[in-house]
Amino acid sequence: MACATRSTSRTADMTATLSVDRLRVSFSHRTGSIDAVDRVSLEIAPSECVGIVGESGSGKTQIFMAAMGLLPRNAQVSGSVRFEGNELLALDAPALNRVRGSKLTMIFQDPMTSLTPHLKIGTQLAEVMVAHLGVSWKDARSFAGRMLERVHVPEPQRRLNQYPHELSGGMRQRVMIAMSLLCEPSLVIADEPTTALDVTIQAQIIELLRAVRGEFGMALVLISHDLAVVAGLADRILVMYAGNVVENSIAAELFRHPRHPYTAELLKCMPSVSGPRLARLPTLAGQPPRPGELLEACPFAPRCSRAADRCRIERPQLSGSPASQVACHFPLTA
């Protein structure tokens, strides 16, 4: 767990690859605005793999959409997102374009809609290098072929001349991974990279991510609603709930001693293919709060069995040791 140790030492001389500080993302609509991400701070160290888990609507994707400048027009962003020391939120589009797609890349959930349907795979891959590295189309195409080989796409030369619809879902996701690696990124953000895939293909893509991480040494953010997917890869896991990071722990620690009641409930709720078969599945009563509700309280308080009066009036802040931080007034003890 060398990476994990590195991530937790916050020495001044080592710049975090990505540093998010009090990031707030809100969306305005007819009657006001709602917060999707509520003053989130996090750091990702070089070559660290961080898993971001949370249920739909918890804001896990929006943090990184803000970092990539991909939020829709009605979004307001405040706070800071620094990538290798540079403030991303202050960059204009041309400056941002030099970073995203080359040093900071993203793999999306659905590889069909994130590839351009009318361009050949080879063209789409080569375009990235022509745009970012200024190489010739010919060189870019030949490098693209080699990259496809590195992500274990069979018959890479033939694939370069194919269109996305001619490839299977797993193959398309491999192409997306190849594309994200072309310019030797410092950070790859994989947003639910296996959710649209079958379980056997999912296992292959997780294996591939593990392998390319070892080979390329970049930092990796793995966003998923599935703790089990994240479990095999991440050094550190951030659990999000209602726009807040509620727990930030070393992966092994999180599974062994979850400290936030929500994390513990989430772990209990995941049915397993091994272990005892249960008469009933554990459930979590209630719903997550609607965005905008509960501004000053703990967002999990209404569903929490440990909630006390303090939880309903004071928002807990993330605190603790570097190995395990939790935003809870009454965290579970190991």
């Binding site: 379980v199 293909i201 999912q202 593990r210 089990a228 095999g232 092994a252 599974f255 293919v273 599945l281």
Partner: protein
């Protein structure tokens, strides 16, 4: 068992030249919950729709309570469907956005029990809403006012209002978050206790394991293994089932079961049970389905070939050839 509710024989569905369901046979008893698992494209949903005759199978028979639905004239089929309901995957898309949920749930009653008074209907709808864990006051609301999990309950309520004998659930928990998923599974467990038979289609093997009595494993339009749930998960027999189970990402169980590690010991739980060693099969190949032989042969580590040995470099000797379909 002799109280067979559904008997599917040699069912075949073609989409143009493509055979999607290729000769499926299985029985489902009254009160039994049967899981149907397989990857996308294996034909699970098509099989479900063929059973309901929402699409016309090319051949075979679907006997429901002894009556072949595929040969039924339209009026008789309609009457039969009362006992045979389906809940779809996307909870919001399967509800009419312009109807209140009360109207949606009442609609099957209007069709099948036209004699019922409006008040009695309202009463039944209210009771049903309560049974699926919602409140009867919610009947005046529209689907967009509900969360995904609640919409799925409404879909189940609509299917249940006619007290069907068999409920077909097509990936009904797939679009739900884990914390909500358990609520729907527990609702199905309640229905199970009340004697309802369920055909539960899912790619989520963990949920299937907790819910089902028996499991059917489908691959490229064929059932490759049928086994009691516990047996299937404890000792899968078909190589495809094994690969499928091995590919499921496991969570470290440290949080639940394992003894706490001694301080100073290297943290291990992050690494355990990763699918690293899995011999996951490749992509579902564009297999020539008109050819003879096993559909899984190109990806199967145990496949043996009568063609020259060079063709099959990955083949491994198998000590004992298992019988694949246990009680098919």
């Amino acid at each position: 068992m002799n109280n067979t509710l559904l008997r599917v024989r040699d069912l075949r569905v073609d989409f143009g030249a493509h055979a999607v369901v290729r000769g499926v046979n299985f029985d489902l008893s009254a009160g039994e919950t049967v899981g149907l698992v397989g990857e996308s494209g294996s034909g699970k949903s098509t099989l479900a729709r063929a059973i309901l005759r929402l699409l016309q199978p090319a051949q075979g028979s679907v006997e429901f309570l002894g009556l072949d639905l595929l040969k039924c004239p339209p009026a008789a089929l309609r009457a039969q469907r009362r006992g045979l309901q389906i809940v779809f995957q996307d909870p919001l898309a399967s509800l009419d956005p312009r109807m209140t949920v009360g109207e949606t749930i009442a609609e099957p009653l209007k069709v099948f029990e036209p004699g019922l008074s409006a008040g009695a209907r309202r009463q039944k709808v209210g009771d049903m809403l309560q049974r699926v864990g919602l409140s009867s006051e919610m009947s005046g609301r529209y689907p967009h006012e509900f969360s995904g999990g609640q919409c799925q309950r409404i879909g189940i309520a609509r299917a249940m209002i006619l007290s069907p004998k068999l409920l077909i659930c097509d990936e009904i928990v797939s679009s739900l978050d884990v914390s909500i998923q358990g609520q729907i599974v527990n609702l199905l467990l309640d229905l199970q206790d009340a004697g309802m038979a369920v055909l539960f289609i899912s790619h989520n093997l963990a949920v299937v394991r907790h819910l089902c009595h028996r499991v059917l494993v489908m691959y490229l339009g064929k059932l490759v293994e049928i086994a009691p749930c516990d047996a299937l998960f404890a000792s899968p027999v078909h190589p495809y089932t094994r690969a499928l189970l091995a590919a499921v990402p496991h969570m470290p169980h440290a949080a639940v079961a394992a003894a706490p590690a001694a301080p100073g010991e290297p943290a291990a739980s992050g690494e355990v049970d990763t699918p690293g060693e899995v011999d996951a099969p490749g992509e579902v190949a564009a297999l020539d389905l008109t050819a003879s032989g096993c559909a899984f042969r190109d990806l199967c580590p145990y496949a043996r070939d009568r063609r020259p040995a060079a063709v099959r470099s990955r083949s491994r000797p198998l000590g004992r050839l298992p019988s694949f379909a246990r009680d098919a």
